[in-house]
């Protein structure tokens, strides 16, 4: 496929800010996203579409919960754990939240070190992020196992409205899938960073195109999005 050659006539003039900037960028008869590469713009647009998918899941959950006449199971008790003889509500979910937030923190720092071309620190931070992500998925698997053992099914559960199970498995299952894909994505990019692909501008195996440290940021966008979705799931499904 032909790569579109974009002509940049020397130093580009200063771009307008504010609303005039939006109008100027969008009506410029060129590309709308001026200083953003296509890779990054397309990741944002993919994330936007993913936002709609998760919105639909949360909306269907809201509709099911609002329209049922059967009481909704209390998530505070459903997800409680007994640790050391003490009964702590929702503790597992709280720990999972902190783990995912920590992984977002290490990811943000990995992006930063990537742009500083610090190969080793970037790769290590990405692998730490992947480890946090894998831990999160592991705890989710534990949570699923526990609930299934207690008799939660997509069509019934011992505590109340039957839609609880279907909403739970659908929403957390889809989110867990995203985390799993993210972990694989992280390991793949971390390997490239570690090998120094972006320092020697080695060409990609599939694409035959040069890679740049920007891929760490694009990868980071995906990972932060996974964390972002969890913020909403945590609020609406577990806390509400």
């Amino acid at each position: 496929m032909a790569e579109t050659a974009l002509t940049t006539p020397g130093e580009s003039p200063a771009r307008a800010a504010g609303w005039q900037g939006i109008a100027a960028d969008w009506s410029s008869d060129q590309r709308a996203f001026k200083n953003v590469s296509w890779g990054k713009a397309m990741m944002w647009i993919f994330l936007l579409s993913d936002t709609f998918i998760f919105s639909c899941f949360l909306l269907s959950y809201m509709t099911a919960r609002m329209s049922t006449t059967v009481p909704w199971p209390n998530p505070s008790e459903v997800f409680a754990l007994s640790i050391g003889g003490k009964h702590i509500p929702l503790i597992l979910i709280a720990i999972m939240t902190f783990i995912l937030i920590s992984s977002s923190g290490t990811m943000a720092m990995a992006v930063n070190f990537g742009y500083r071309r610090d190969r080793v620190k970037t790769a290590i931070l990405m692998l730490v992020t992947a480890a946090f992500g894998a831990t999160f998925v592991g705890m989710q698997a534990f949570e699923w196992t526990k609930l299934i053992m207690e008799g939660v099914r997509p069509w019934e559960n011992p505590w109340g409205a039957a839609q609880f199970g279907s909403s739970f498995f659908m929403i957390t299952g889809f989110h867990g899938t995203h985390v799993t894909i993210g972990v694989i994505f992280l390991i793949a990019i971390a390997r490239k960073v570690w090998r120094g692909d972006f320092d020697v501008e080695r060409r990609g195996f599939f694409t035959s195109r040069k890679g740049y440290y920007e891929i760490v940021e694009i990868m980071g966008l995906y990972w932060h999005f996974v964390d972002l979705v969890w913020v909403f799931i945590f609020a609406f499904f577990y806390l509400w």
Partner: protein, 132 residues
């Protein structure tokens, strides 16, 4: 179109350089160098906000107080992640609005479904709920 491809494939021309420079986002990379401290501070705030929203459940707050606090902490966390971790605060408005406005419009969908489920609930109560 094919012409460009041939030039690209055979020798590193001026065009490939221009393309690579754009792909690398050379103009952009400068804007993304923030001190590590910024990320650590945001990380800390996310921990604080998560703890707060957990405490809402731990202390068993109920009703509008609970819901408004949950929404407040949720919006603050989401805002911090998008603005700082995802660098949206430093992007041009053309991108920020293109990405952030459509999800806000989902609220219209939410409003529609609230009406819909209120109606369904009413019908179920009127016709299906067992008389007590």
């Amino acid at each position: 179109m094919t012409n460009v491809a041939v030039i690209d494939g055979q020798q590193p021309s001026l065009q490939t350089h221009a393309h690579d420079a754009i792909a690398a986002g050379t103009a952009h990379a400068k804007g993304q160098q923030h001190p590590i401290k910024l990320y650590l501070v945001v990380w800390g705030w996310l921990f604080v906000l998560s703890t707060c929203s957990y405490l809402v459940d731990y202390f068993g707050l109920h009703g509008y107080l609970r819901w408004s606090l949950i929404l407040l902490f949720m919006v603050l966390k989401a805002g911090l992640i998008v603005a700082v971790f995802m660098h949206m605060a430093w992007e041009r408005l053309a991108l920020a609005y293109a990405i952030l406005l459509p999800p806000v419009l989902v609220l219209v969908f939410v409003a529609i479904m609230v009406f819909e489920s209120e109606y369904t609930h009413l019908i179920r109560v009127l016709f299906f709920a067992s008389p007590t």
